[in-house]
């Protein structure tokens, strides 16, 4: 026996070690760790190693920042000029988009859609990886002491990264979206097709469960659908790069993540999501021209003279407070409205007013009538009194999606001579019209007596020839 043990000692030791590890594996397979459960030995090991990694990473980051912020400032002036130009362009773009966003929120409020908002985030630094090709897991330098829990979303400004799967006192582990065990509910931005984004062993991400008869084009953006209850809806995920017919009636869609998952340094952990109704307050329609005007230099307001020629205090509303059913006259304009533009959308002569803006400022970016605000603040609303509708079959109607009403309005002559007809012509630049701040006009929202709540909202009137 001794001879046998001595002769095969090495093999016996090898077999014993392997057997012990296989038993350990079997136990783990029989009792898979539940969500949030952490093996003690793993906790010890990671708690021991991550502070070292964090120290190394922070030191490296500090040196890098010192270099980039102080030593390497070449080309900053030129970049600054370019960024300023970009900023100006973005402001104009923002003016346009913000109105669309307001409209979307109004519609959401109308339909009582709840929306998830990212309320709190914690910035974290990537300090390590799994170190193997079989797993794409990442380690962050924030843990339970920082309020991190499992199933929190991890994002970057460019797109989502993954979710927290393990939390340790001073670190946490992220399962990125390109890990083979990851799955994220997503939706295609244009076609609104929903699917599941899954990772693979080689780090590729594919969109699954899209039927073969659907049409998906490369280049289409992929957003979170919110269906997984981890990522809020609408966050960028990636872009479709290839679409091929796959097995089992589903398309094989390859997606490139928006975030550079292989070069992550800083990420944001979403620690608090709130679910609430879209904020419908302060969503009275504001013209794109007004939004733009707020960003332009202000022109001092002139004192307004009434019909007798007596000056009125600046900002007084002139010709307002007329019910929607009556003619809107005078109109409120933003005090700083400076001869800008407006309205190239159909529906001229018709004021489609989501939210039933009070009369006198009956306007909407979708329904303004090709008029151009006067340079001294006299604005020209869509259906200003006396305005001869250019091309609207729904002349003189005010559709209010918010109130679900379509209110006929009558065309009345202007009361104060602030004529700016609903035509494609410019309003007089000298503007003997009254200067009335838009907010003043909006401050009388109850001036819609003829709103009919039973009548559904009407879409903006389409363009038709004017008799």
């Amino acid at each position: 026996m001794d001879t046998f043990l001595g002769r095969y000692k090495n093999l016996i030791v090898l077999a014993a070690i392997l057997f012990a590890q296989i038993i350990g594996l079997a136990l783990q397979v029989r009792r898979p760790s539940q969500v949030g459960e952490t093996r003690l030995i793993r906790l010890w090991a990671i708690s021991a190693v991550t502070p070292v990694e964090a120290a190394v990473v922070h030191t490296q980051t500090w040196v890098h920042r010192v270099w980039t912020n102080y030593a390497y400032l070449r080309g900053v002036r030129r970049e600054n000029r370019e960024l300023r130009a970009e900023l100006e362009r973005m402001k104009i773009e923002d003016a346009r988009l913000s109105e669309d966003a307001r409209m979307a929120r109004r519609v959401q409020a109308l339909l009582e859609f709840k929306q998830q908002y990212v309320e709190n985030t914690v910035a974290a630094q990537v300090i390590g990886t799994s170190g193997s090709e079989q797993s794409r897991a990442l380690y962050l330098d924030k843990g339970s002491k920082d309020g991190i829990t499992t199933d929190m979303a991890v994002i970057t400004p460019t797109g989502i990264v993954g979710k927290i799967v393990q939390v340790y006192p001073t670190s946490s582990q992220v399962l990125p979206i390109n890990d083979q065990y990851s799955g994220v509910g997503v939706v295609l931005k244009d076609t609104r097709l929903q699917g599941i984004l899954k990772g693979a062993q080689n780090g590729a991400t594919t969109l699954q469960y899209i039927m073969s008869d659907e049409k998906v084009e490369p280049g289409e953006e992929v957003l979170t659908s919110g269906g997984d209850r981890i990522f809020p809806k609408g966050l960028p995920v990636g872009k479709v790069v290839s679409v091929e017919p796959g097995k089992d009636l589903f398309l094989n869609i390859r997606v490139v993540p928006s975030s550079r998952l292989d070069q992550l340094e800083e990420v944001l952990i979403v620690t608090k999501l709130t679910e609430k109704m879209p904020d419908a307050k302060d969503l009275a329609p504001i013209r794109a021209a007004d939004i733009l005007a707020e960003r332009l230099p202000t022109v001092p307001t002139k004192p307004v003279a009434d019909a007798r020629g007596n000056p009125k205090p600046a900002g007084a509303t002139v010709g307002t407070a007329a019910p929607v059913g009556s003619a809107a006259t005078g109109t409120g304009a933003h005090p700083s409205a400076t001869g800008t533009v407006s309205a190239n959308k159909p529906g001229a002569g018709t004021a489609t007013v989501p939210g039933a803006k009070p009369s006198g400022a009956v306007t909407s970016p979708r329904s303004t009538t090709g008029t151009i605000a006067g340079s001294n603040g006299a604005s020209t609303p869509a259906n200003a009194a006396g305005a001869k509708p250019l091309n609207s079959p729904g002349t003189g109607t005010t559709s209010s999606p918010k109130l679900k009403s379509t209110t006929p309005t009558t065309a009345a002559p202007p009361t104060n001579g602030a004529v700016s007809g609903a035509t494609d012509t410019q309003a007089p630049a000298n503007g003997d019209a009254s200067t009335t701040p838009a907010k003043k006009v909006q401050s009388a929202p109850e001036q819609t007596p003829s709103a009919n709540p039973d009548q559904p909202a009407r879409p903006p009137a389409t363009e038709q020839p004017q008799p």
């Binding site: 594996l25 793993r42 390590g128 799994s130 079989q134 797993s135 794409r136 897991a137």
Partner: protein, 180 residues
């Protein structure tokens, strides 16, 4: 902690005796730890670093230098289990442990038979053991745990080549810790 010279009848080398090296305790503890730290830290900055397997190289190095199958088994087992600890939430403990235990045993057994001091043989054993390591890992994941694993010969061959080249430098560096 000095080197010993051990006669071995089955040696395929031209030498009749092969040297058995020892290492200081700090080297035994900190070299694997450093390899693990580098393995989990560098991929944050270097994209393709995960194809390099430093713990495997350290296991091979210790096994062939000490030329003791039992020690090689234990070294591989410990390093592999440590690698398992960091290998992700869905990675059961023991997968790398089993693979590196086998590699440690085979490398130390091979070290008794061939000269593993010259770069050519080091290149070859690193290449072969990398492929073997991947095969054992695949077998454990696919056979024992029924995990979905993709086996790509081209990927394994390229990774093995990269590891063999890097291994030459790593072995040269680790030679400094040998005690004669």
């Amino acid at each position: 902690m000095s080197s010993r010279v051990m006669p071995y009848r089955g040696s395929l080398t031209s030498r009749e005796q092969v040297a058995v090296y020892d290492f200081s305790w700090p080297a035994i503890i900190f070299i694997p730890l450093a390899a693990l730290l580098i393995q989990i830290f560098i991929p944050v900055r270097v994209r393709y670093f995960p194809i390099i397997d430093l713990p495997l190289m350290v296991t091979i190095f210790f096994a062939v230098a000490r030329r003791n199958p039992v020690t090689g088994c234990l070294t591989g087992c410990v390093i592999g289990l440590m690698q398992d600890l960091f290998a992700g939430p869905n990675h059961p403990l023991g997968m790398y442990g089993i693979a590196l235990t086998c590699i440690g045993y085979l490398a130390s057994s091979l070290g008794l038979k061939i000269d593993v001091e010259n770069p050519g043989s080091r290149f070859l054993i690193t290449y072969i053991f990398f492929v073997l390591h991947q095969g054992i890992y695949y077998g454990v994941a696919h056979g024992l745990l029924r995990q979905t694993q993709v086996w790509s010969w081209s990927h394994v061959a390229i990774s093995a080549l990269a590891n063999a080249v890097i291994g030459l430098f790593v072995f040269a560096l680790l030679d400094r810790f040998k005690q004669r």
